[in-house]
Symmetry: C2
Subunit: 204 residues, 2 copies
């Protein structure tokens, strides 16, 4: 065994420990919620030595934002699907599909999303992370709008960045309502109504 | 002087004290923000006796929600304007006017709205109050949508309550962006873009 191989083993072990801590974090957050969860509990559940969690994460908020990235990945994937419709109908069909998948992904992680909602309200770090997640979605939507404007499908005088914000906010808040069980309508009705309003207003 | 007149004087004085406490509360919240404000500071500024604030308000959160009602009154007035358009164009003109007034009212109370935003994040009582404010707006919008659907101006298959939610959420979040200075566009551009998207999607 040479030096580089030993390094790699140590690195692998470090990655494993990190993964264990993230899994333990997820379990602790799900059980306790954000505010009541502690790094000590996470360390304990991960069977890592006292204080080990602090070697890998600055604090509880830092560990949590990493978990958020994993949860959001599915929603990013949905939002990042190629969007090059050739007709208004194609655009609507794809917008509907994306909206539905976005809401569905959030519902599949319902319990963690509830903790995310709680954490946004109490942690400045998590709030900032959420704002950066928002910015990423809005920037993607802005590009999609510009594409259909350039293609002559959408009304050109709209401010793409502003419409993207409005559209994302509508989706975000209805998504929170769905996650928190504060909306009666089902996923299909929600996705269809929002997508039709948006596509109907944006497209020629 | 008979007994009833004395009662009335005492009642008047109580109303005055209450008003003084609310004014003092506003000043303290504006200076300290929600979390750092205390009932003691409010009592002191209102020159009322030690603990008097607690005679009139259960706690800081309770006093604050009363201030919120006053701030929101102007926005309620805007939302409650009679809405009986006879054409799509009339509807758009009024939606634009209402949207603009809603945003403008929030901007006129910009500093207090910042405190409201902070308070929603940290106080369950304020959060609940905000949810009831939201519900009031959404219920008003739902009725407006039903009116134009019944009048044959808007697309009938839309779920009025759902569209009302989406539309309010869009306005609310953009309003927060404006209040927090997180949006570049001006009031006119914001109102026009959102209103056009909404009216374009909802109306035939």
């Amino acid at each position: 065994m040479d030096g580089s191989e030993q390094m790699s083993k140590r690195q692998l072990q470090a990655l494993q420990t990190r993964e264990n801590l993230l899994n333990a974090g997820r379990a602790v957050f799900l059980e306790k919620g954000f505010q009541k969860a502690t790094m000590t509990q996470i360390n304990k559940l991960a069977h890592t030595g006292y204080g080990t969690a602090y070697v890998y994460f600055k604090n509880k908020d830092d560990l949590f934002t990493e978990l958020m990235e994993t949860i959001m990945q599915k929603m990013y994937d949905v939002a990042g699907l190629p969007f090059h419709p050739r007709t208004k109908e194609e655009a609507y069909a794809q917008i509907l599909k994306q909206t539905r998948l976005f809401m569905q992904s959030a519902l599949e992680e319902k319990e963690m999303m509830k903790v995310v909602k709680e954490a946004i309200g109490v942690s400045a770090i998590v709030k900032e992370k959420w704002n950066s997640i928002r910015a990423r979605f809005i920037s993607g939507i802005t590009k999609d709008i510009q594409f259909v404007q350039d293609a002559g499908l959408a009304i050109e005088r709209f401010d793409a960045a502003l419409i993207a914000k409005g559209w994302f906010y509508m989706n975000e808040q209805v998504m929170w309502d769905l996650v928190l069980g504060e909306i009666e309508e089902d996923l299909d009705a929600v996705s269809e109504n929002l997508s039709e309003l948006y596509a109907g207003g944006l497209y020629k």
